[in-house]
């Protein structure tokens, strides 16, 4: 290893050395000039300028300027650039000013890929170019969420929670750990999360290993390459803003019962359970004379006031909280979800000239959540500058700074306020008779928290985040064809928070828990140092580009926090650690997260006659996560393209503008979620896990140690081997472009936390080891149609479809399967199981075939006695056909992976009006509606029930046709079509035959089609504006999420994982913050 590091160091030092000894070794005869675009009158950067008849070429800089050496006898320059028609110009005296005319074809567009830029038509890998204008259509504070439906091969799942992350997968699930793609912003590792979308110049998604292998260890999940705006031409000031209102789902979106319906459901439940009248739930009346539920007027913890007015003077918040019952029912949804404001303001200024260019922007983004006390407030600033020090030396920086405050709920979790909407009984009002929060303590059944109290109590909590991201760089052009570049950059993230936990006096559970205060801070840092040398030349019909580079990276994160409890006042001015009871204090500071990597890489692009294209890349990466000897990995790729339309035999096909066949093979890697200390066997000492009160103190314990993790020195990379074949075509002079890719992605040596053969017997945290393989196959398709119907009417249609099929092809030694528990909840066991031969994340449980109609039905059906069956309970399929139904009969009951997802953008311009609409859909994915656990089985904590469940549940009668207990030998289901089990609290109710196990009752079709955005805009006539010094003024109105078409019965079928870093567990509804809320905005775009 010593040698390897030494070699790397030598290379890095050499590159650095070359950069700083650069000289000016250019030829003497120079021609200078500028290139501008005809329509916009803006400079064209990266335009290629060639001396006709030679291989001498250069490209324009950011200001559109170029300098080229022209040999004697040559007088014509050929200028080409993406999006423009090629042009030959004759050199006169003085500077050459070239005006290029725009074409509709995007084939010549320059696209930034891995460490280099290429013309789109020269790309041999699979790269999706995102239309940034389409991207901006959807109002959102998180830029990664905007990728949804905008790039083929990219699956994005969002939620409606402001500032919440998204599940992003490029070509399916590529790891059981994090499948998040690597994001490169201006050449540096970054994040789309808080990036201002208005700062973005271009986004490319690198999908196949042919294009991601150059990123080696970071490439396995795909790479998103973002370039932010640079200054160009004259000074431009832009103001982009929108403001609008977000409308929560209206009415009673969970279809919850009101108080009389709820009381009746509980009453019926007790009837079917055989509970006699004297033992019924006291709140709804007991005693032989009761024939149905009585709705009380007041609720009290110790006695039920019933219909009589209680003595309100006995009120005591701690022991006798008196609450006036809500006899019609509280609309908890409406209490916590309210219309909310959203606004965004971006002001940017840019200019570019011969000596320098800059782009500055500031943004204020403020999205209130429709859920009270959730919001994202963010201030950002960007400063991108480039200085042309000499003709051949450029230095510059890109800097992005933001501050944000983003209180959120733990989305997709049974304990959050959204879940409490359906968990809390409707009879409970928001406030008690004294105006304090009301809750389940007065009701004495159920254990839900008051969701209003939960949210309002967070009002004074704080969470601040400051971040700086960016880089400084220097570029030197050497020997005409060689460019050296060094870039140093990274991210520094500093955060600080505190929160107070109140005594939930109104709750049935924990109503005397001590209050507490927690304060903490931490930082995450990452730097990346990249050095590259780029050589580009053409020899006759041969064109060659060579890149070599080195990269070093270091990540370091640290945090600490403190806590005290039993504050005698809950006043926020008291919220300091010192004000809590000292004996309750505790603090924590986790082990730092430390990671380093170092890499060398190279790339060769060769083209013959613009017809045959070949590219090869290789990267050698080392990372500290693994033990010396297993730290380095080599990741090669090869791709080839054949522009068949350049062949003579295709020349006569006039409608075919361009046709390229391409294919590639490559390898990328990942260290996935492997802990940075994976190689080491460690011991730890924590009070809860290894201290013991050996002295019998009762209030103090003696420190002890425990083996906390086993190391593995042999663990190494997870490898992604990808094969890709694609077609790119441009028809009718670029009016119709399409691109199709087929791929196969094999991830081998998946990094798993080891399960030893005897895992319970070696109960130490096991190291991550390599084992198991996943295979994804799929296709991506995208098409764009541009039409100019007439001079006033333009139409653009862009669509894409992504399909993947994921397959676990093997699991590591010792695993028969891998059950995946969701962090959202697991009261009925794991929902998903990964097993060889099945897709990642497939749902696994019992298959419901119906409900047992009577005892004879139980007897004649396959023996389900080990699962406590009963009349009106689920009858399960004997999946293995052994004549009995046991835990072995659980089977595959649904695949959360969609058959395909699709996006469709239609935009049109008519005179000064513009119109755009964007649809997104997901087809064929199954979802688990886990909310039903809480709402369809009232024995589950006697929480609220849906009217759907009430209407569909089995009703039990005896031989006389009277409502009866399920224990009655003659009990039978009176409504044979019932789908929901009988409401019941006996042993059969909570066993695996009803609410006690996961089964196909929860599975629903999660397909949907959503109109994500509809915009109508109007641009004011230029002539009017000129007088005010305004170049452009556009106003628009928008409706986001206008409609969603779905059969899903929950709030929204778009369901992200409860843990965004766990990709084996998604498509499960734990009361998701819905992403389908309508949002009406008005906006302006102004340029000066």
């Amino acid at each position: 290893m010593k040698q390897k590091n030494g070699r790397l160091a030598a290379r890095m030092c050499a590159v650095l050395f070359l950069i700083f000894i650069s000289g000016t070794l250019l030829a003497q005869k120079k021609v200078t000039g500028t290139v501008t675009a005809a329509k916009s009158n803006q400079p064209v950067s990266f335009a290629s300028v060639t001396v006709k008849g030679t291989s001498i070429a250069t490209s324009t800089d950011a200001a559109g300027a170029f300098t080229i050496t022209v040999p004697a006898g040559k007088t014509v320059l050929t200028v080409t650039s993406v999006g423009f028609a090629d042009l030959d110009v004759t050199i006169g005296s003085g500077p050459v000013n070239v005006v290029l005319t725009e074409t509709t074809s995007t084939l010549n567009e320059i696209v930034v890929t891995g460490y280099t830029a290429q013309r789109k038509k020269d790309i041999t890998g699979s790269v999706a170019v995102v239309n940034v204008n389409n991207l901006k259509q959807v109002p959102s504070g998180t830029t990664e969420s905007l990728l949804q439906g905008q790039a083929s091969g990219v699956t994005v799942i969002n939620s409606g929670s402001p500032g919440e992350g998204s599940n992003i997968r490029i070509r399916g699930i590529t790891s059981l750990g994090s499948a998040s793609p690597y994001v490169v912003i201006d050449g540096v590792a970054g994040s789309l999360h808080d990036l201002d979308v208005n700062d973005i110049e271009s986004i490319q998604v690198l999908k196949d290993a042919g294009s991601t292998a150059i990123y080696g260890i970071l490439g396995s999940n795909g790479v998103i390459v973002v370039t932010t705006k640079k200054g160009k031409g004259k000074t431009v000031l832009n103001y982009d803003a929108y403001i609008g209102t977000q409308r929560p789902l209206s009415g009673n979106p969970f279809h919850l019962a009101n108080t009389p319906q709820y009381a009746q459901a509980l009453w019926d439940m007790q009837t079917y359970s055989g509970i006699d009248n004297s033992k019924r739930i006291a709140a709804f009346g007991q005693g032989a004379s009761q024939t149905g539920p009585m709705i009380p007027t007041y609720l009290q913890p110790l006695t039920f006031a019933g219909q009589a007015d209680p003595d309100l003077t006995t009120y005591n918040i701690n022991s006798d909280q008196i609450t006036k019952a809500n006899q019609t029912g509280t609309n908890w949804w409406g209490e916590i979800f309210q219309p909310a404001l959203i606004q965004s303001h971006t002001l940017s200024g840019s200019a570019g000239g011969e000596k320098s260019s800059y782009f500055y922007s500031i943004n204020y983004f403020d999205q209130e959540g429709t859920l009270i006390n959730t919001y994202l407030k963010r201030y950002t600033a960007r400063m991108n500058t480039v200085f042309n020090v000499k003709n051949n030396v450029r230095i510059g920086e890109n800097a992005f700074i933001f501050y944000k405050d983003n209180p959120r709920i733990t989305n997709q979790n049974e304990g959050n306020a959204i879940s409490m909407v359906y968990r809390i009984p409707p009879i409970i009002p928001v406030y008690d008779v004294e105006g304090n929060y009301a809750g389940t303590k007065s009701f004495t059944i159920n254990n839900a928290d008051n969701p209003v109290a939960m949210q309002k109590r967070t009002a004074n909590n704080k969470g601040n985040d400051w971040q700086v991201n960016g880089n400084v760089f220097a570029e030197v052009d050497l020997f005409k064809h060689l460019t050296l570049r060094t870039s140093f950059g990274g991210t520094f993230d500093n955060y600080y928070y505190y929160y107070f936990s109140y005594t939930g006096y109104e709750n049935a559970e924990g109503n005397t828990n001590a209050n507490g205060f927690t304060e903490g801070a931490g930082y995450n840092s990452q730097w990346l140092w990249t050095n590259t040398a780029n050589y580009s030349n053409t020899f006759g019909k041969h064109s060659l580009k060579v890149l070599i580079g080195t990269e070093a990276r270091k990540v370091y994160d640290r945090s600490l926090s403190g806590n005290r409890t039993t504050y005698f006042s809950t006043d926020p001015s008291f919220w300091t650690l010192n004000d809590g009871t000292p004996s309750t204090q505790s603090n924590s500071g986790g082990a730092p997260y430390q990671l380093t990597s170092s890499s060398v890489f190279g790339k060769v692009d060769y083209a013959y006659n613009d017809k045959y294209l070949l590219a090869a890349t290789v990267r050698n990466d080392g990372v500290s996560v693994f033990y010396p000897g297993h730290q380095y990995g080599t990741f090669p790729s090869f791709t080839a393209g054949w522009r068949i339309s350049r062949e003579d035999f295709m020349k006569n096909i006039s409608w075919l503008t361009d046709l390229k066949l391409r294919g590639g093979w490559g390898k990328a890697g990942s260290y996935s979620n492997t802990p940075t200390t994976n190689a080491y066997t460690l011991y730890a000492s924590t009070a809860g896990q290894s201290y013991y009160p050996i002295t019998g103190s009762g209030t103090a314990s003696t420190a002890g140690f425990f083996p906390s993790q086993l190391g593995n020195q042999n663990t190494t990379w997870e490898t992604d081997i990808q094969t890709d074949a694609g077609i790119d075509a441009s028809l009718f002079k670029g009016k119709l472009d399409f691109s199709f890719d087929w791929y196969q992605k094999k991830i081998s040596g998946l990094l798993f936390q080891n399960r030893s053969v005897l895992d319970a017997f070696i109960p130490v945290a096991q190291p991550y080891i390599n084992g198991g393989n996943i295979q994804n196959t799929g296709f991506d398709f995208s098409a764009t149609y541009h039409a100019t119907i007439n001079h006033d009417f333009h139409l653009d249609i862009t669509g894409n479809i992504s399909h993947y099929k994921s397959l676990v092809s093997s699991l590591p030694f010792g695993y028969k399967y891998l059950d995946q528990y969701s962090s959202g909840s697991s009261r009925i066991g794991a929902f998903t199981r990964s097993q060889a031969g099945q897709p990642v994340g497939e749902f696994f449980g019992y298959q419901v075939v119906g409900l047992f109609q009577n005892n004879a039905d139980i007897t004649k059906s396959p023996d389900q006695s080990s699962l406590s069956p009963g009349v009106g309970a689920f009858k399960y399929k004997d999946a293995n056909g052994d004549g009995k139904v046991t835990t072995d009969d659980r089977t595959w009951i649904g695949n959360p992976n969609p058959d395909f997802t699709y996006g469709l953008n239609i935009s049109a311009n008519y005179k000064s009006f513009d119109f755009s609409v964007f649809f997104y859909g997901s087809q064929g994915n199954k979802v688990v509606n886990y909310i039903k656990y809480w709402t369809d089985f009232p024995e589950v904590f006697e929480g609220n029930v849906t009217t759907t469940a009430i209407n569909n549940s089995a009703r039990i009668v005896n031989s006389a046709g009277q409502p009866a207990s399920v224990n009655d030998p003659t009990a039978q289901v009176a409504n044979p079509g019932a789908k929901t089990p009988v409401f019941n609290t006996t042993s059969t109710s909570s066993g695996p035959s009803t609410s006690g196990a996961f089964n196909s009752y929860y599975i629903e079709d999660g397909s949907y089609l959503r109109c994500k955005s509809l915009i109508i805009g109007y641009t004011l006539p230029t002539t009017t504006l000129k007088r005010f010094g305004i170049d452009k003024f556009r106003v628009y109105v928008q409706c986001a999420n206008l409609f969603t078409i779905t059969k899903y019965t929950g709030l929204d079928p778009e369901l992200q994982g409860s843990d965004l870093n766990n990709n084996s567990n998604f498509g499960i509804d734990f009361g998701n913050y819905p992403a389908n809320q309508k949002n009406y905005n008005i906006g302006v775009n102004v340029s000066f």
Partner: protein, 591 residues
């Protein structure tokens, strides 16, 4: 830039020592080994190791109590539905609770063995201390295996040689066409512990010689090796002393369950699992649920709603248990099971008005009776779901109101007020006396007179009026677990068995079995007693047939002999594959 050049050019750029953790070499010394030993002790409470939770509670309230006729699961029917299978003697193989017990106590085994692995590497430990450490480790290793054995029966035994799992499988519960028998190894651990441990210890929480002897006796009693247990029990009764040097004796009954009294200076404590609160272990910042040193395993077992603890209403004593405390005119229990007839104790409408054994009111909270110093129990408003949970709350694990915040936790995590420093009486002296009585009846040389004297010792303590519960607002002393003597809280009457009563050995055994139920109720013992006596199916099926009249749960549930005595081996353990691609564990019969 300068820093990165240095870093990049340094050969150690990729080699980062782990931060915030201990490496093995740091622990190879006396402090390290003693620390590992404490780490092994810390698993005794069933929490803080691998997969701990309520299913691994050291008190065995689910396996020993809810599974028997002591208590109902409680709460609302679907809450902790993993207990439903246990309570109905039909545990699904995928049930989460047995998994917790399995994982947690095998973690204990691993930690114990780890001490023995590191011990030889430490060069600064004198031989005598090393021998003592080894003896403590063997006590713990025997303890964890014994607990696993009596819950799962067919379990493998692991010694310190089992370190790696990549090689051939050496750990299995399969032997030929049957199962392994690990009783000899468990016995050997306790025999070695007994030989190597001192009579008194530097810290009361450490096992001493007599604790090991009592554990060995418990093992023999479980195996029904009465004659092997006899000399051990005789020695314990004659000479036994606690780790803090107190001669064993019966103390005030209620004091056994008082967190102020059961830590140190508890002469009845033969082996106690220690707990502590407000020691930094229960804070949400560094602990997940279940990771704390208080009696987390019993955190659900408090009155619901506005009652003490304010959650969760589990482990409700059964009506059958309450009725068992009825006494006859002589203050003796109704051994003919007639206690199940007539009015129910504390029935909300027509309560039983006859005489009761006074221990009932230390065992359960029931309407109108002082609940320690929390005032009179209000009845069903402290019960979560009376139709399914009956009318009683557990009491032995609870703390007094005056102890709140000192012996209950104020650290901020879920339901912190239910975390209590109330120790778990794993073996107390009354238990030893009742074993000795049983041995006197069932051993090869019966001695009914001695058996009678032991049973009467236990009953005489219960008859001591200073230890009764008194009503009328009598002051409760949380320091001594006694009330000011006023009017007894109910109509108590308890008498001793007359001389010669145990001459009928069958009657004697019935009386001893009943006495164990009354004395040790709600202490996680009952089911294991029923199983070792071979009467579980008879007793529990009868119990179900009686109890279904008060609790709908017991409709249609039954105990299957040959299956229900033991929990299934967790399915994921069965499904773990050995090197040959086959399972290394065989499921218990009937599952």
């Amino acid at each position: 830039m300068g820093a990165c050049i240095l870093a990049a050019c340094s050969k150690s750029f990729l080699n980062i020592a782990p931060g915030g953790a201990l490496s093995p070499s740091i622990l190879a010394n006396e402090t390290g080994v003693q620390g590992l030993l404490i780490g092994a002790y810390s698993i005794l409470d069933g929490e803080g190791g691998n997969n701990g939770g309520w299913g691994s509670a050291a008190s065995n309230w689910t396996y020993g109590g809810v599974q028997a006729d002591d208590a109902y699961k409680g709460s609302t029917p679907s809450d902790q539905s993993d207990i439903v299978g246990i309570e109905s003697w039909n545990t699904p193989t995928t049930d989460g609770y047995p998994s917790q017990k399995w994982d947690e106590y095998y973690d204990g085994v691993y930690r114990a063995n780890e001490v023995l692995r590191v011990l030889p590497l430490a060069k600064d430990i004198p031989a005598a201390e090393a021998a003592e450490i080894t003896a403590e480790v063997r006590f713990l290793r025997g303890f964890f295996h014994f607990e696993l054995k009596r819950v799962f029966n067919n379990v493998p035994y692991l010694d310190e040689k089992v370190t790696d799992t990549s090689g051939p499988v050496t750990v299995t519960n399969i032997s030929g066409s049957g199962y392994v028998n690990i009783w000899p190894q468990i016995e050997a651990d306790f025999i070695a512990a007994m030989a190597g441990l001192p009579a008194t210890q530097s810290a009361v929480g450490r096992a001493n010689k007599y604790a090991a002897e009592a554990l060995l006796a418990k093992v023999y009693m479980t195996e029904l090796k009465y004659d092997a247990a006899k000399p051990l029990l005789a020695d314990l009764i004659a000479n036994g002393e606690t780790s803090d040097g107190l001669k064993y004796k019966l103390i005030n009954y209620g004091s056994n369950f008082n967190p102020a009294q059961n830590h140190v200076g508890d002469a009845e404590a033969v082996f106690t699992i220690q707990t502590s609160v407000n020691d930094g272990s229960g804070n949400s910042q560094n602990a997940g649920i279940g990771i704390s040193n208080g009696n987390y395993g019993d955190a659900l077992n408090f009155p619901y709603g506005a009652g003490p603890g304010a959650c969760c209403g589990f482990n409700n004593p059964s009506q059958n248990l309450a009725n068992a405390y009825k006494t006859d005119a002589n203050g003796l229990p109704l051994l003919d099971d007639s206690y199940s007839t007539g009015n129910n104790v504390s029935d909300p409408t027509t309560p039983y008005t006859g005489t009761l054994d006074p221990r009932i009111d230390w065992v359960m909270g029931r309407k109108g009776i002082p609940y320690l110093d929390w005032g009179p129990h209000p009845g069903d408003s402290w019960i979560r779901d009376p139709a399914n949970d009956g009318h009683f709350n557990p009491k032995k694990n609870v703390y007094a109101e005056s102890q709140k915040g000192t012996l209950s936790s104020v650290e901020s995590f879920w339901a912190n007020v239910e975390e209590v420093a109330n120790n778990i009486n794993y073996i107390r002296f009354a238990d030893v006396l009742l074993w000795a009585a049983e041995v006197d009846i069932k051993g090869s040389v019966p001695n009914p007179a001695e058996a009678l004297s032991y049973v009467n010792m236990v009953r005489a303590r219960a008859a001591d009026k200073t230890g009764w519960v008194y009503g009328g607002g009598a002051a409760y002393s949380a320091a001594t677990a006694t009330y000011a003597i006023t009017t007894p809280a109910d109509n108590y009457k308890i008498g001793l068995y007359p001389d010669g009563a145990f001459d009928n050995l069958t009657y004697a055994m019935t009386a001893i079995m009943f006495e164990r139920r009354l004395e040790l109720a709600m202490e996680g013992q009952r089911f294991f007693d029923l199983v070792r006596w071979g009467v579980a199916a008879t007793v529990l099926n009868k119990y179900a047939s009686i109890e279904k009249n008060v609790i709908p749960f017991y409709n249609g549930v039954s105990f299957t002999p040959g299956k229900s005595e033991y929990q299934p081996i967790p399915q994921d353990q069965i499904d773990g594959l050995g090197v040959t691609g086959t399972s290394y564990l065989k499921q218990n019969p009937g599952y």
